[in-house]
Subunit: 106 residues, 2 copies
């Protein structure tokens, strides 16, 4: 399994409305991509110094990652939002053992 | 619940041995911090353009995050490794619903 992480810093022109629309678009996109085992995206909580926004996704393998990142849905979000909003992007993928990484039930 | 993410880019002097020792130190550190529900750290798989290394941690709340980031163990890893290795750091925290984010069993 693969954990894909991305942290974005916005350029100065980005508004709160842009961020809200982006989050809605990413959430809708993720529902349409069955290869995503888990997905979360949103503004950084800023509990420590850091970027403006982050995305985290869990997929089965490299094909699953491509099905997500190369999907029409993801490309559309890039064209409509991320492409013009991003000043800086840091991303990485880490291997995960099945069942090894989780937010346990309450 | 909180997902903490960090992506690092190394400066030029960092060696593979440094990275291995860092990963061992982070893994040992994580075992000693009960507030960490989940933890993973390692070199970026480089399946797409990105940083050199990433860390992801799931904690219960802000206190759990502080118990991790302000722990003697984490500070020691910073002093011995990360402080001299990092050229660039991008981090963020995202809220997670219990049970919402997981690498499912095989």
């Amino acid at each position: 399994m693969i954990l894909h992480l991305a942290v974005f810093t916005w350029n100065d022109s980005v508004t709160d409305a842009d961020v809200e629309q982006l989050t809605d678009a990413l959430t809708t996109m993720a529902r349409g991509i069955p290869e995503l085992h888990s997905y979360t995206a949103g503004p950084n909580l800023q509990l420590r110094p850091g970027g403006d926004y982050a995305v985290a996704a869990i997929v089965e393998d490299e094909e699953g990652l491509a099905a997500y990142l190369d999907s029409p849905g993801h490309q559309s979000v890039y064209e409509r939002y991320l492409g013009r909003m991003i000043a800086q992007r840091s991303a990485a993928q880490l291997p995960l053992d099945a069942g090894s990484f989780r937010a346990p039930q309450g």
